[in-house]
Every structure is written in C-alpha cells, then in structure tokens.
Symmetry: C2
Subunit: 453 residues, 2 copies
C-alpha cells in the first residue's frame, strides 16, 4: 500500500520519475486496444474513462431488445487490465486540457500529466440541431443507459396496450418508429419485429403483439446504402419479410408526444406513435473540439466535429498527441475519410500503441494503414449481409459469418462464453430472457445528479 | 384480436360472463404460486404487478455485488404464464379498493372487478421513523433498482479511492457499513468482503482493495440470531474469517454524509464512511392498510402493518378476500406468527390457489398448515448455515445444500441454466462479470416521473 501510494504521487501506475507518462482518454475499442498494445512498453499508462467498463457497442441493440443483459456486452476495464501492471485504470470525466503544461484536467479538479496523449472518446447522438427537443422523445443507442431506456419504452408500450380498451391508443402504442436505416436502425427494426412477432407472440391476452407496426424511416433510396446495391436491396427485403415497414426516401420532420410527421418524397404524413428510436445521426465527442481549441487548431475540425489527424494519427505539429477512433478524421492517401466503425478504431488503437512504444524506444514507424476486412450488418436472428472485397454474402450464411466474427471479438473478454451460451439459449428457445422493465423507480431513489456521476 | 378484445371487455383473459373472476395483486412468490396453482381452475385470473417480472429476491444481494445480472434473477411474468391461458398478466399499480362493488382501482383510473381477491404485495424497507432522511443515504435491498444503486455506490467508492491522494478520504471511501445482521445483512457483508479481498484484489494500482473495512452492525448479541446459537456463532466466525468486522450489540444512531454514529452497548462511536447499506427493518406494503381500512378492519393490522388473516388466509368476514406472503400475519394454532420468508409465501400461494379452486367447484379445504422445511443463510461463496428440524449444517456442506435448494427453486424459471452457468463461471474464475457502474446518466435522460412509471 505504501509503495503503490508513492507511485501514484510520482505520476503513474508502475512508473517512476523519468518513465514516459502515457494518458489514454476513453476505454472504447480505440483506447482499449492502444493500452493493450503498450503492454511491453517502457511507459506508465493511465487509462481514463467516464465508465468503469468497456462496452461492446455492436451488440447494444441486443440489450435494447431484451436479448442480452448489459453485463453480457460490457467488461470491467479493471478486469481487462488486471495483469497489465503498467496500466492504471481511472474512472473520471475529462473536461479540459493544458497542452503547454502537458496536463489533462478532470471534473473533480485533479489533473494528469502526460508525455504522450491519446484521445479516443468516440461519438454521441446528433439530432441535426433539434437535440434539446428530440433527445428525450427519441433516445439513441450509444450507452448501456440508452439501451435500458429503449428496452423500457418498447416493453412498456406493449404493457400499456394490453391494459387499454381504446383501439386508437392500442394502435398508437403498438407502432414503433425507428429513424435511420444504417446498421443500428436496421438491427433495431429487425429485433423489435422479432420481439413482437416471435418472442412475445403468445404472451398477451387482450392484444396480439403481431399487430405491432415497426416502421423504419430512411432518407435515401435504400437501407444500408453504403453497401453494394444488391446487398442493400436484400437487406430491405429481409426486413419486409420480418414484418418491418421500410419507408425509403423519407425524412423525419417532427416528433410530438403522440405522433411523428415524416416527409415521404416531400409529402407530409402523420404516424401516430409513442415510441421513436433514433439511429440517424452521430457527432464527435465534444472533447475533440476542446483539445483542438486548446492547441489553436479549431479549423482542423470537420462538420461533424471530428479532428483531422496526420498519417500517424497525431495532430499536426504535436507528434505526441494522438486522436483515434470515431473522433478522428483520418484521410487515406487516395483522399477518402475513414468511416467511424469499430475495425478502424481498433486498428488505429493498435497502431498508436505500437507507435508510442517505438517513439519511447527511440525508433519510428510507418504511417497508419487501414486494412478493410469488409463490412457486415445483421437483420434479425438469422439474416445478415456481408461485404468483403468482391465477396458478398446474404442470408443464413452471412449471419453465421456475422456471429462468428462477433464471438471472435468478444472472445477477448471474459464473458465470451456467457454471451455465446445466452445466444444459443435464446436461439433454441426463441426467448429473450432480459426483458425487464427497470429504471423508472431508480430515478426516484437517485437524485438527478447522482452522488457518483 | 377481435375475440380477445371482447373477452377483455367482459372482464378477464379467457373468461366470459358467469366465470368467477380472480384478481391477484403482486407477482412475488405468493401471488405467482397462487396463479400457477389455479391453472386448472374454472376461473379467469388477472395477475397485476407494478413490474413486468417476477424477482427471485433471495439472490438480489448477488446483483448488488456484481455477481449476477438483474435478468439472471428475474423472469418476465408473461413468460411464466405464457401457456396458462386463464391468466392475464397486467402491469399496473393498484391504489385502492372498493369492496362493496368488488373492485380494485388502478393508478391509471381503470378498475378490475373480482369475485375472489388475493393480495400479496409483500414488504418494503422501514427506517424506524427516519425514512425520509435515511432512505437516500442508506439504500435497502428489495428491488432490482435498489441492487443496482448499491452496486454503483460500492464500486464507485473503490473508483474514487483509487483517484484520491487524501489518506483519510481513502480510508472513509473504503469503509462499508451494513446495518442489520439478518440474512440479507450477512450476505451483503460477506459478498462485499469477498469482492474487495478476492475479486478485485489485483485490479487497482494506488489502493489495495484488501484494506477495505466491511462493518456489520447488529443490535443483538449475535448475527442471524433466529438460528440456533451454535449456528449464529459459526456464521459470525465465518464472517470474521472473510474479513468482516462484526459489531454486535450495536445500534445505528445517525447517518451523515461522511460518517455514521453507532451506539455500542450504549457508547457512541463515529465511523467515517460514505457507503451505508440498510438491511435492518421491513414493513408491510401499504396496500394492506388500504384494504383493511376499506373493509373497516384497520384494527387487524399489527405494528409492522401486516394484516391478520384467518386459518384459511382469508380476512375475517370476507371469505373471498385473501392476504398472503410477507403482508399476512398468520398465527399458527400454537400462537406463533409465521415469519416473512419465501417458503411461507410460496406455501400460502399454493394453498390459496387450491382453496379458490375448491370454492369455485363448490368444495372446501382444511386450514393452511405451514410445513417448515428449515432455514438457511449463506456467508460468502463457500459457507452457509442450514437448520432443519434438529439437523444443523455449517461450512461447505451447508453451502452446497444452499446452492442446491436455490438452483432447484430457480429451476422453475427459464433462466435457470444461465444462472447456474454464471455461478459456476464466477466460482471457477473468482470473478464477478456484472461489475458495472450504471444508472447515473440514465437519471439525466429520464425525468423523475418517467413516462412509463
């Protein structure tokens, strides 16, 4: 205890004066992989995150629809780094930077000194200027709390419909509008349709859950429009076969307490509903802007708030400050900006980890190169689309590929077996065991500003 | 849809005019077992609960200490009664009764008519007249939300200690006071001690979690003092061996934001702490009082608010109204009042189910008789005490008995295999995979009065 206390005072986990101090902000794919890659580096690492866990975001929609529990897709950062003694995990909120003193400032008034700084705080929802109004009405899906809020709203709508005798109210309660036809929107729409039509089919007495309308609103002509057209079309057809109403070329115009207004090819249409889920826009974490401003390079931010980085993921003129993952705007040599997806974040994390280790050792590295292994999206419990180079898969085979890849990634965490088991169990029983409506009462116990938030 | 809608209008799930209407309030052990027992009865049953799930409360402390996920110990009531077509599950809050019209009134303004009424809404925390002050400072352990609040506070205390450089603050943050040496208090104390000393032993860099003080405050001379003295003593010794400081003959006098004051044999002592967990008092659900008042029999309530019931669990003069479980004050022929434990609730549920079925069929039954199979409490992950008749077990064997019984009960639910698997996994790895700090942010998304509360 004495000894470790002293180490803390001298600024790092197992470091001492003179050991390079590496501060990594954000324990997502980018930050976590970076810290892992540094396991043999001669540096003392502080990994700071607002939460005490790493979240496997690609499966968050499963939590939102009761298929998995939060703990199935989250691993405590302390467990992940238990045996990596050069990493100290800190739970805290970074609020500012003082680059001239090489300091990161935390909300609680403390600060962390760094020789190398890595920022990977990702992205958050973006309601196109309507944040204040729409955020409460149409929760997005970025955090565990988002997922449990959506789970509560979706399940509560069925519960309220079962008690209602007003046909219009029942119709409204059983209408679910998902805004955005990207991977998250497609996964949510498919999952809610399956929940209603399969999982809960025999659970009610007054209503028939199969009457539920699941409406996916998408701006462009096809869902998943970044994929090859044949895959996008197939995904749309898969959704329809699950009972989802896909409204392409449709834009959300208004969210009110009992209906939404959409513009289909410019024509307004009101859809009575009380459950709207946001899967449309994301914007970069505000810490990117804060850092850029403090470095006098706010002009390096793009429209979405992402920070432009060099070919080594560092900021121009600051070779010891890196931005990685969804927060980074990395332009490839052929002029394309890399998308905000997990593989990019992970590869950048690994790269920057290697680069810092090399710099500490007095060596250097080549530029970051993204190896695009392909993309995949899942539609319900047995369909997916996969695109990798010229290979394109659909249907069951694609779904198996999707499952394999996701289990493989999860295999890095200790709860891998549990998730696989839970999946298998749900698959066999067609059930979703995590269908709990929780939280409303919690808000009554905990104040708005939780004692530990 | 048409057909089931009509049934709803005539007052029940698969009933029609003339079919006896049975309303069961509360989906805990008592109400759930009652509804199950009525599966072949010629009646239409409405089971109403504030939540959409049945909770296996005996394992709630595992959620509070990160060993299990909420969904592991909760099963959606709709799943449980999916194939029992004479049961309609309703999620709603009962606020009043109109016995003269045989109506139950819900918060949303609707009402349910009954021919038979079963009330089994259990108990809630009781802070001996200090509810308003103490409830926020010292959460109890009755609901899933309680458990996640406690989990957040306990884990956050370690997180804050890791960041602190103030020795006194660290000491205070690493001190956990559990009030009440009954089964819940003993389980919580043992679990927190194991969490600190085993699970998280290698997780921190600045603090040593083994320095955590876990203090169990108990009024009487021994913990678990309803058990045979030899077992109580053994439980106390087991706790000490896990590193728990057991303070017997000690009463909580004050809870303040950074310390508590206890009276040990009358002498005041201040203990600096920020985490206090309440496992001391319970009182009956207020619906018991409401019902008794409406029936003009408020004098039948005991000090804890329990409703005195007849030998058939009905209320005096109201042979069609039953109160069961923790809410009932059942006096055995030899003058003892049955304790508020799960086996009593389950047996009363089964009995009243049988009795209502018999009454509908024009038959009758004998009085309720409690078959006391014994009691058990667990202390950490490999110790327990078991008492059954003249048989007394301690240590590992008792723990295996405890595990067997609990898995057996859970076996009624679909998530039985998952829990067993999670347990086994945690046991082998000495890990707790559900160590998530969540919820504070949720309070910011959802208003105090949630849209669906």
């Amino acid at each position: 205890m004495q000894a470790s206390q002293k180490q803390q005072d001298t600024g790092g986990p197992s470091g001492s004066k003179g050991t390079p101090r590496i501060v990594i902000i954000g324990g997502g794919f980018a930050g976590m992989m970076c810290a892992k890659q540094l396991r043999r580096a001669k540096g003392s690492i502080q990994l700071i995150d607002k939460r005490n866990f790493h979240l496997f975001q690609p499966l968050l929609y499963q939590v939102a629809t009761g298929g998995l529990s939060p703990a199935n897709i989250a691993a405590p950062l302390r467990s992940i780094f238990r045996s990596q003694k050069n990493v100290q995990v800190l739970m805290g909120t970074v609020v500012d930077f003082r680059p001239e003193e090489q300091l990161v400032l935390l909300e609680d008034g403390t600060s962390l000194g760094y020789d190398y700084l890595v920022l990977g705080t990702g992205s958050t929802h973006h309601y196109f200027g309507r944040d204040a109004e729409w955020e409460r009405m149409a929760p997005g899906l970025k955090t565990i709390e988002d997922a449990t809020v959506i789970r509560r709203r979706v399940l509560s709508a069925f519960e309220r419909a079962e008690k209602s005798t007003d046909r219009e109210e029942i119709r409204r309660l059983l209408t679910f509008v998902i805004v955005g036809g990207g991977p998250t929107g497609v996964e949510m729409a498919g999952s809610i349709a399956e929940l209603a039509r399969q999982t809960m089919r025999y659970d009610f007495r007054a209503i028939d859950p199969r009457d539920a309308r699941v409406i996916l609103v998408e701006n462009s002509k096809l869902v998943l429009d970044r994929y090859h057209e044949s895959l996008s079309k197939r995904a749309g057809a898969d959704l329809v076969s699950l009972g989802v109403e896909v409204m392409n070329e449709t834009r959300l115009a208004e969210i009110l307490h009992d209906h939404v207004v959409v513009l289909h090819q410019g024509n307004p249409q009101a859809i009575p509903t009380e459950t709207v889920i946001w899967a449309a826009g994301v914007k970069a974490s505000p810490l990117g802007r804060k850092l850029a401003e403090r470095l006098g390079m706010a002009e390096s931010l793009d429209r979405g708030g992402r920070v432009a980085v060099q070919s080594d993921c560092s900021l121009a003129g600051h070779s010891n400050i890196f931005v990685i993952g969804d927060l980074a705007n990395f332009t490839t040599p052929d002029g394309k900006s890399l998308p905000g997806v997990a593989p990019v974040a992970m590869q950048q994390g690994v790269y920057v980890g290697k680069r810092i280790a090399a710099l500490i050792a007095g060596r250097t590295t080549g530029p970051f190169e993204y190896w695009d292994k392909g993309n995949m999206a899942t539609i319900g419990r047995s369909h997916a689309i996969v695109e990798s180079g010229n290979m394109r898969l659909t249907g069951k085979l694609a779904w198996l590929a999707w499952l394999f890849i996701h289990v493989l990634y999860l295999a890095r965490f200790e709860n891998r077996v549990l998730v696989l088991f839970q999946w298998f169990w749900n698959y066999v029983t067609r059930n979703r065991t995590a269908r709990l409506i929780t939280g409303a009462e919690e808000a009554m116990i905990e104040p708005k500003n939780g004692d530990n938030s």
